[in-house]
């Protein structure tokens, strides 16, 4: 199969849907000749023109509201927020408008829009450009939240997100953009709400999200040398969440580590832990559930500190050893 990067996969998904459906268009800052801050849309304006690859002023509040308004009235906008951190400026439109419309109007409106959000740390962009705020969004009924961890998933999930009739927040990790993977050229969808087992194992279940999925797989490979057989589950979408896949794996292994990049306190991993604790999978546990998340500090600039702020492969490895001894 052909290998392309995560960012190319995202672009391919948008390009393919835009060829099929004239209602789909992209909006965002610098997405034209500049190609967006991370080059994801580069060249798209040449194919689709400035009407459908719509460069906006720096005005997140206006463009997010504009996306909601156009989605309510028949378009299917994809909004690129340059760095996911800036979504806070768009929050009213996402939380009070997009998420509520359908419900408030008794099912008489739909808001088919996707907000693409480059997130995560690792590039030295410091505290205002490195956050992982996806858990905030999962707290809001009416929104769907997607977090692909590789190129293949990114393409298939984005396609499903664009076709979905609800507002979908699509988190792309900036350190994954250059990561290559096998991606079929033809169009395909990965339904929202279906987890993927990235690696099968029988001793420990690691449930990891986003960038951490890749770290978890790497740690799992190392743990093999220790004779520990780790299963890695990637929920891929936080809302809807594939609870069944998670619980089945927990029942199979009896030991659980949850890993996520966002600040540990109040992160989405906490939700996964609660899910397990409240389910019948609880009876299968052989050890307390462990959590590994970002430290409770803003992301610092210094590269060593930045690395120390989020879970690394070695941390996951260590936690798994701990888990086996419990």
């Amino acid at each position: 199969m052909r290998e392309i990067s995560y960012s190319e996969a995202v672009k391919e998904a948008m390009t393919q849907v835009m060829r099929e459906d004239n209602d789909v268009f992209i909006m965002g800052e610098d997405i034209g000749v500049y190609g967006g801050a991370f080059g994801v849309t580069s060249g798209m304006i040449d194919e689709f023109g400035p009407e459908r690859v719509r460069i906006t002023p720096i005005s997140e509040a206006a463009i997010s509201g504009c996306a909601v308004g156009s989605a309510m009235t028949g378009m299917r906008p994809i909004l690129e927020i340059q760095f996911s951190d800036f979504v806070v400026i768009a929050m009213d439109n996402i939380v009070n408008q997009a998420a509520k419309m359908r419900y408030m109007f008794g099912g008489k409106a739909k808001v088919p829009m996707v907000v693409r959000l480059p997130a995560g740390s690792g590039a030295g962009f410091a505290a205002q450009h490195s956050q992982s705020l996806e858990a905030w969004m999962t707290h809001i009924p009416g929104l769907k939240v997607v977090q692909p961890s590789n190129a293949y998933d990114a393409k298939g999930l984005l396609k499903a997100a664009i076709k979905d009739d609800n507002p979908v927040l699509f988190y792309e990790h900036k350190m994954l953009y250059n990561l290559k993977g096998d991606v079929p050229e033809e169009s395909y969808e990965i339904p929202l709400g279906v987890a993927d087992i990235k690696r099968e194992g029988k001793d420990i279940t690691i449930i990891a999200t986003g960038m951490m999925v890749n770290h978890a797989v790497e740690a799992a490979q190392q743990l093999e040398q220790e004779g520990i057989d780790v299963e890695v589950i990637d929920p891929r979408t936080l809302v809807p969440l594939d609870e069944k896949a998670i619980l089945e794996s927990v029942k199979k292994t009896g030991r659980v580590l949850v890993v996520y990049e966002a600040v540990k306190r109040g992160g989405f991993g906490t939700e996964i832990v609660s899910l397990i604790a409240e389910s019948d999978a609880f009876d299968y546990l052989d050890a307390p559930i462990l959590r590994l998340g970002g430290v409770e500090a803003p992301i610092p600039y210094n590269p060593k500190l930045e690395k120390a702020a989020i879970p690394q492969v070695s941390d996951i490895y260590q936690k798994c050893l701990e888990l086996m001894n419990k």
């Binding site: 962009f125 410091a126 450009h129 500190l305």
Partner: protein, 329 residues
């Protein structure tokens, strides 16, 4: 007003004039040095250079004293230097060192120095404006008498925060100066594509704020406009909007191929409107400096940068324990 008339009216002494020229040169050398270090892989992350915009930074800060405050932007190195922030500590911050202004935690986009009234650069476009309005509110409520100057770009004026800040400052008559460095572009969005108005200054008028457009590459014009604004603010007459037309020579940040503008346009600004050359000519024609002194100032600035880089390179990384410090007061 002609340069000659302006020069006379401002009545600046030679020492001030030389200091300002030096600061402009230092900003240029700072940015050039940084660019090099970046290319050599000695600095990580990203950075936004302000080469070509030295006159706005130095000219706007000149009428301010140490108690007066500024808020700055992602393109903030020049503002910091002009306000008197220690260059050594700035470079150390860019290296992520513990001796840096933010102990290595902030980096290029977050340099702040409360001791000289530098309330900080900011990674969020237009975020400095409401903060500046708040600092001006403090000044008014506590009768502290200082003014606040908010730097921002043309792109920032399309954010809601810009509009809401202007309105608030206007109705409360706060001692704040909204200083727009219109360098013709947001990242890639040109001012003509992103706004449909003759000038940014008209936006001030619609909030009842006296506003004007000036040549931001002529430091004398910048000083004149800012001085007037400071005076109004200190008399309790409220905010002013200054739109200073200028140009950033480099790309938006390191990854910018500058496909959205022509090389001819860049050349024109570099050749004919270089703010340092413009100021140098004014000073030479008024016998404030000669060519030799100009060269000396350049060498001095180069040396200051060399020392700053050495200082930064010899500084330590912050220890890992500091990851969890300074989160709460």
């Amino acid at each position: 007003m002609s340069n000659e008339l302006l020069f006379q009216e401002l009545g600046l002494d030679n020492q001030d004039l030389k200091k300002m020229l030096y600061d402009m040169i230092l900003i240029r050398k700072f940015e050039e040095t940084l660019k090099q270090l970046y290319q050599q892989g000695k600095i990580h992350g990203t950075m936004h250079l302000c080469i070509g915009q030295e006159a706005t930074a130095v000219g706007a800060c000149f009428p301010l004293n140490n108690e007066d405050k500024i808020t700055s932007t992602h393109r903030g190195h020049g503002h910091s230097i002009a306000k008197g922030t220690d260059v050594k500590k700035m470079v150390a911050e860019l290296f992520g060192k513990v001796t840096g202004h933010c102990k290595g935690k902030g980096g290029s986009m977050h340099i702040a120095d409360m001791t000289v009234g530098n309330l900080g650069a900011n990674g969020i476009v237009a975020a400095g404006l409401p903060l500046g309005v708040g600092a001006a509110l403090t000044s008014k409520m506590k009768e502290l008498g200082y003014v606040v100057l908010c730097f921002f770009g043309d792109g920032a004026t399309n954010e809601g925060a810009f509009h809401e800040s202007l309105n608030l400052a206007s109705i409360w008559k706060l001692p704040v100066i909204f200083f727009c460095e219109n360098n013709l572009y947001g990242m890639s969005g040109s001012i003509t594509e992103m706004t449909n108005i003759e000038s940014i200054a008209v936006r001030g008028s619609s909030y009842g704020i006296p506003s004007e457009t000036i040549n931001g590459n002529n430091i004398l014009e910048v000083i004149k406009a800012t001085q007037d604004a400071v005076e109004r603010a200190k008399k309790g007459e409220g905010p002013t909007l200054i739109e200073a037309e200028t140009y950033r020579w480099e790309g938006h940040s390191r990854s910018d191929a500058r496909k959205y503008r022509t090389r001819e346009e860049e050349k024109e600004w570099k050749k004919e409107k270089d703010p340092i050359e413009v100021f140098k000519e004014i000073l030479i024609s008024n016998n404030v400096i000669n060519e030799n002194e100009f060269i000396e100032l350049n060498e001095k600035a180069q040396n200051q940068m060399k020392e700053a880089v050495e200082y930064a390179e010899n500084s330590d990384d912050p220890s890992i324990d500091t990851l969890m410090t300074d989160i709460y007061a």
